[in-house]
Symmetry: C4
Subunit: 312 residues, 4 copies
């Protein structure tokens, strides 16, 4: 991490880009899904992220919204055809006003999707012009719909799993804080880098937050096909030296984790954020081995055991 | 910034890539939208950026252009069908020449969009061949149209907001020049880097421009969920040391800002450029805090207050 | 490789991210296709990589799957139309139940693909509504199908070829271990970096794996238009110093290779992984020259000779 | 350039990845379009780059190929329909065998493009099944066609222009070799890096090629909105020190240029390669200024003058 190679002594206070002047009721800074507890106001609707919302929402919700947009747009066009007069739709069923409207609606659908069966077809310049416009709008609208479907389906990138808890276990001659990660997906991951930052709250003053980088035993690895146990030795130079669980509680300690990894399948870097709070540490335990060698000589990795611990 | 880690002493003049030999009437180098005041001539039409223009223009203008292209193309094909003879369009209304042409036009539309109702259909080899060609051209043309619509809609990337003004406020034992940025969009931004360059004009000589990098108190941060106040200490080593607003005016000072940030949502780096001129500095003021903690313990950030200042 | 610039002395054991505690029957760590011998369990179906599977499978298998999905979806919709009653499909052949079903099936196909000939068309609200839904689902389904086809076709990226064997040949005043790579595709490759790691198994203890980086004579080159012979000098500092083929066998030596290269055509970095085992070394041989100059003064590179060796 | 920061002393010979053992008739190593004079044999057809060929060929050639593929595919399907029997195409004109075939052909086109007018429609299970298959194949084929059209149209990336010649002009107290680049397109370019390598041929021995990096006065600049004149001082440490044009000729000198730049509009790095041979140097001349300030105070850059020189 470039951040850590900078002369930290030269600064009175290290700040990873989060604020120190946070004086309200405290809550987790980074959520379990990697987002920050920040709400933005004062931005226009174009910056509220319609696209990201549609990309990230669940499939059911997405398809419901797509379906609703489809119905609403076609109701609108049906209204226009109805207003012009359904007699300019050759082949339309005009038995009742409802039949007329339904004919206009299904004609609209057949135009919008470019199915165009033709058992109902436009007559006269006005209706034909509206239908021409609708066919084009249909194609452009489905550009967004189909683009989103494919983007959602092909959504790139690694999805890292983190152990639910950190552990404090014996390490070399002392103790170390550890957590464990793995890739949930089959993407091949290269050049993983880890950064860990301890955030504490100075209760004496104005609840100022303090950020301290934690030195890791190994900051980067070349490959990530299995699990990676990230280790911070609690030696004299560690800000955790001599602290126990009560002290961490009184400091409202939160460990901010940043993993940067190159997703070789999609050719782009991926960042994962995570955090552990003081009460998500298991003291005196260590992680169980999560892989076994099967009969073929392959490693088998059971990710449901990623967070499994045992007495150290 | 790699640029700053190079041995600047070894060079007589630092140049970020802009010219020093600029002798005309002076204007802002970098516009508020990040573009440079440069016009290019002597390039072919293929390099004038049709694609970028279509990608970056407003939606109304874009859709108008798309609509016009659609009408013009179909008028062209309608002309061809009309020239061949509308009698080879089965089902066409040939009451008057205008009716014939309109029939040809709407048949063209139905072919170009692949709606193909079929109440008008081609007859004879010539018309059928033209229609076959048109259907293919329609599909390929809509490849560009729908590609652009989706590209515009899914337009990646962070959009940084800058405070309208810089401030000069007390900082540590002295004073510092500061400005503030934030991300307008919900994209998660990582690893922000800032570079600031002071451009001045040497009026004694030939109005040569001089570029001096400004040392920043913190050049990079890990995350950018909130605002980032970028600080240049005005100490003895600063080119701003001892200068007041009149002197900056006579030097035609412009501060060129470059922000580089990794957009984690789209997996790519984003650069933002900005500039402040000497008259966009508020002396003796500081930025107001722009976020509050709401009832849920979340941070609320009001971006409309990004540039709000108060007496220092 | 950043990994190698880190102070390796500071660590007792170097680990590129693979495990040391591997105690089962040994097999190759990295396969010839660059994958790792790892199976994952405990992940949901959404993380098993349907998309990657469809992207990477052979064309025949892919098209078969696409075709089957197409038939199954249309059988489903045909069942719905049949259940509603084929009398609401105007123009359908209802001579026999089979004819009715086939009519429903082909109507479904014509709707799903938006061909919509119209010789069969929906009548009544229920069938029309189902058809409206099917047309939309068809468009969204083909978004995935066509997106995959194009993604497969435009699959980016360099494909590196490796010599089948390594050689140990005289080099300068001593000997060196060498292997050779080239780009199979016409993409232009820039800034190639190579990393080689020796993996051995400590049979004395618990079959612990040991990883040692091999110092390369040249770790990176600017361009890769031809072949690149990657060379590790076997001098006193090399972990291979003094070892012969029996000793490498008893250590179960495997050479893990990582090549990182920038694919200039697609604008993204590409990683290639490969490995050689102890029995894939030819001792006392060297690589034959693989290119000749043709009559035009061009270099001709014959990749089928990439692994060809001759007595050293 | 990372390459240059490596300890070059430690190597007897610097090689940027091109061969030294080139003994044939000499020709330019890097062509003016940035490609290398290398032909590859021994690779399968799947690695010959069909996709890249279709992406990079001229529009006329591309559209001709697309059109031919379209005609050939439809002739094939027409043949199938004709073989089954045109009587199973309701509405087809069967006056003569040619009319029958043409009807089958145009029906195929209407199915392949999903226009589906319906004045000709399939009857019977066999023809309907073929049409179902064709509609799907049409959609998948157009996935490639339309994907390519959009990819060609949206083709990213900067296109650098180089001055036709290098100049040797007075510089500081001595002389320097210079060339000039600019971006032809409106894309904003950031963080340009230049590398220059002198290639000479040792005629005494076996025509071995020798590569020597040339130290540049400025290796990187922050922005590239205008032109960039890249300068190599010919001082005592330069391999060009004391050489004149005859000596460069006898050494068959070629200057290999690599420019790396970040295209901010497309968010990806772009590399440009170029080369100058010994006879593309103008001695004792310097570049003319290529930009003027217009009435609005904007810089106007005339790229057709990029290579214009004047006596130094």
């Amino acid at each position: 991490m470039a951040e850590q190679s900078m002369p930290l002594r030269a600064r009175q206070e290290f700040d990873p880009g989060l604020t120190q002047r946070y004086t309200g009721r405290l809550r987790r800074v980074i959520n379990k899904d990697g987002s920050f507890n920040v709400r933005k106001r004062g931005v226009g609707w174009r910056e509220t992220g319609v696209f990201l919302h549609l990309l990230n929402s669940g499939w059911l919700w997405f398809l419901t919204q797509a379906w609703m947009a489809y119905v609403v747009l076609n109701l609108g066009f049906a209204g226009v055809y109805y207003a012009i007069g359904v007699e300019s739709l050759t082949g339309a069923d005009r038995s009742t006003p409802l039949d007329s409207f339904l004919s206009a609606f299904f004609f609209s659908v057949q135009t919008f999707t470019t199915v165009g069966y033709g058992h109902v077809s436009p007559k006269g310049m006005l209706t034909s012009t509206v239908a021409s416009f609708e066919a084009m709008m249909g194609l452009l609208s489905f550009a967004i719909g189909t683009g989103l479907v494919y983007a959602r389906f092909s959504r790139p990138s690694a999805k890292l799993a983190f152990s639910e808890k950190m552990v404090v276990a014996p390490f070399n001659d002392g103790r170390a804080l550890m957590f464990r990660i793995a890739n949930r997906r089959p993407n091949v991951l290269m050049e993983s880098e880890a950064t860990a930052i301890l955030m504490t709250v100075d209760k004496a003053g104005e609840h100022k937050r303090k950020y301290q980088p934690l030195k890791l035993d190994r900051e980067r690895i070349l490959f990530l096909p299995l699990t990676w146990t990230i280790v911070h030795s609690i030696d004299e130079s560690s800000p955790l030296w001599g602290l126990d669980t009560e002290q961490l509680e009184s400091l409202q300690a939160e460990f901010l984790i940043l993993i940067k990894v190159f997703d070789d399948t999609f050719g782009q870097p991926v960042h994962a954020r995570y955090s552990y709070t003081w009460d998500e540490i298991e003291w005196g335990r260590k992680f169980e081995q999560v892989f076994t060698v099967n009969a073929d000589g392959d490693l088998e990795l059971d990710l449901s055991d990623l967070g499994k611990t045992m007495p150290a």
